[in-house]
């Protein structure tokens, strides 16, 4: 039974309960006053009328030769349904419907003793007001019966109206509570959205209620934290780029000096040739690393993109076949001749890096498939390696995640660049199992993906 209501539901329920309590109190008080007034009014009318009638009968009886039924008939037709007269030990009545049996004995005794009384009775199921009035001729009594069913009906209508009003007010309270809680909690909903956006990596997301007098402090401190985080991430990312920039000048010296040495390899003493060759190879790797680091830092810095119309099948097969040094690409029929708007350079890096990864870490690329899937384009790269265990699948797209490759084989930036570029192109990349063993990298790209058409392909 421990159902935890949300803050919004609690606020809503609170408003509803307050509305219910207020409207119920108001209805109760209204009911008490109105019903009391109506009953008292009816009683006073009946008492006055029966006193007047009793007096008229007393006067009639004092006249010689008075006929009792005639006297009763001559009474003004007031609100009474029936008038009864006890005279000389006999009951006379104006209506046969209501007899003396319905009249309480106590009331008759009081009237005979000269005391007027009233009482609510039921006669044949009908609610009635009986009023006993004394006559001047002592020992006799006049009793008038008044119908109460109309008053009961009025009171019933009043009570259902009041209950209805209370229910409507409570529902109104709930609705107002719902609205108020939504308005009041809107910043909280925004906070939730923005916080999860930041967690997803959208570091530009900010709260917009900094001017709110109550919640502005929260918004400002949240935005400040997000800005700090963004700054830190940018600084970290730029660090790799800055280091690489700085490395380029010495790298230029080394690469060009090495080129001169290599041009004169035949002039070198035999003992020096092997170390020079080792140095030369590592210098090439060093250069690739610096270029890759620049490539990654450039994306972190949010640089420009160029979009142009490309035949996607051509692009992928050229990039993949060149990286594998043999034909590896299969195009599904709908891709043949398909033109899309894309960033050629980034897409080439994505395909080339995936194929190179398959060649160096996946025991060879088994094939690259390009197909249209739904509203997007799918590029699949299969390899013949041992596959990637599920718990390592996210990590391999991180920088320098080498996935157990032997030391010296690649430096683990290739897949990080793939991840960066695919995101830049608005797509996703994931790795899974190839049916039959090996890893399968799947790149999904929106068709016509581009961010920034910085170089129009046409001006005429």
């Amino acid at each position: 039974m421990a159902v935890r209501l949300g803050l919004r539901n609690r606020v809503m329920l609170g408003f509803g309960l307050i509305a219910l309590a207020l409207s119920a109190t108001l209805a109760g008080v209204t009911w008490l006053f109105v019903s009391h007034y109506l009953v008292a009014d009816r009683l006073s009318t009946a008492t006055t009328e029966s006193a007047v009638n009793a007096e008229a009968i007393s006067l009639g009886l004092s006249q010689p030769g008075a006929s009792i039924p005639q006297l009763l008939d001559q009474l003004p037709s007031g609100q009474a349904t029936s008038s009864l007269l006890l005279y000389g030990g006999h009951w006379y009545a104006t209506s046969s419907a209501h007899g003396a049996s319905a009249v309480p004995a106590g009331m008759v005794a009081m009237a005979r003793a000269g005391e007027a009384t009233s009482s609510r009775i039921r006669d044949g199921g009908e609610p009635m007001l009986a009023v006993g009035a004394p006559l001047t001729q002592r020992g006799n009594a006049y009793v008038a019966l008044y119908p109460l069913d109309d008053l009961d009906r009025s009171l019933r209508i009043l009570s259902s109206t009041l209950i209805g009003a209370a229910i409507l007010t409570s529902i109104g309270g709930l609705l107002i509570g719902r609205f108020a809680s939504r308005v009041a909690l809107r910043p909280l909903a925004e906070l939730t959205g923005v916080a999860s956006a930041v967690a997803r990596g959208d570091l530009d997301a900010r709260l917009h209620f900094e001017d709110d007098p109550d919640l502005g402090g929260l918004a400002r401190s949240f935005n400040h934290t997000a800005a700090e985080l963004q700054h830190r991430v940018a600084v970290d990312a730029r660090f790799a780029g800055d280091v690489s920039h700085e490395l380029r000048t010495p790298l230029t010296t080394m690469l060009n000096s090495m080129q001169v040495i290599r041009n004169r390899r035949s002039e070198l003493p035999a003992t020096v040739r092997e170390p020079v060759s080792l140095l030369s190879d590592d210098l090439d790797r060093f250069r690739r690393l610096v270029v890759d680091l620049l490539e990654i830092s450039r994306d972190d810095g949010g640089d420009t993109s160029t979009a142009e119309v490309v035949r996607i099948g051509d692009l992928v097969s050229r990039a993949a076949d060149a990286a594998a040094l043999r034909p590896v690409t299969t195009l599904s029929p709908e891709v043949d001749g398909l033109r899309i708007i894309a960033d050629k350079r980034r897409l080439e890096r994505v395909v080339a890096n995936l194929v190179t990864n398959a060649e160096t870490h996946g025991r060879g690329c088994l094939g690259v498939l390009v197909a249209v899937s739904g509203a997007g384009l799918r590029i699949i790269v299969d390899d013949a390696g041992p596959g990637i265990p599920p718990d390592r699948r996210d990590r391999i797209f991180e920088r320098f995640a080498r996935d157990g490759a032997p030391a010296g084989q690649g430096v683990g930036l290739g897949l990080a660049i793939v991840d960066r570029h695919v995101r830049w192109l608005g797509g996703t990349v994931r790795v899974g199992d190839r049916p039959g063993g090996g890893a399968r990298f799947v790149v999904e790209l929106p068709l016509g993906s581009h961010r920034d058409h910085s170089m129009p392909t046409s001006s005429g």
């Binding site: 920039h245 380029r248 000048t249 790298l251 230029t252 010296t253 690469l255 060009n256 000096s257 080129q259 001169v260 041009n263 250069r287 610096v290 620049l294 450039r298 640089d303 420009t304 993109s305 160029t306 142009e308 119309v309 051509d314 692009l315 050229r318 990039a319 033109r339 050629k344 350079r345 080439e348 910085s454 170089m455 129009p456 392909t457 046409s458 001006s459 005429g460």
Partner: protein, 233 residues
Amino acid sequence: MRSNTGDVSRSVLLVEDDARVRRVLRLALEDEGYRVAEAASGTAGLQEIAHAVPDVVLLDLMLPDLDGFTVCRRIRRDSDVPVIMVTARTDSHDVVAGLEAGADDYVTKPLVAKELSARIRALLRRAEVANQHPVKIVAGDLEIGIEEGVVTRDGVPLALTRTEFRLLAELAGADGRVCTREHLLETVWGYGYFGDSRLVDVHVRRLRTKVERDPANPRHVVTARGLGYRLVL
């Protein structure tokens, strides 16, 4: 000095402020058979060109006095010498700005003399058009003399750079058919399929400002949207 190219050695002017980079590039380029002149600033580079026009200028965009774009525009005022600019990044606006300032091609740091040499050779190639074509091609009011490397409009010679001329000659040789960007990258600049298409786009823009009466509404070099460019004959 040993010459790898075998032909008459070409001269390169290196405009670069870092003395170490200048020195090693000089060594490596000389080893590739080039004659190398150096300039440590934009102003010095312009003076050097005024003194002796080299075959190719290698121009760093980051210079202490005049920036590379300004130097490039000043070179273009009275020279069609091929300019290769050196930029830090492939995908920055610098590339387009440099090409628009008049550069013929660009390379990114770190520079290697052997790769540079391939770029230089591509830029210094002569315009060639398949044999069956006449040496003079007429396209409306344009007359393209392939052999002489001269373009006239209504008989008036136009000042095209060598790269602009080769681009026009390549388009003219296509007989009015569309040339894809990839094709132009390969034939004019010597790049493969993945060359930078911005080279083509910016050079076409520059070419239009010279050969078209209204560059905004080109009549000669027209865009085949999504495909490439063609010359209307």
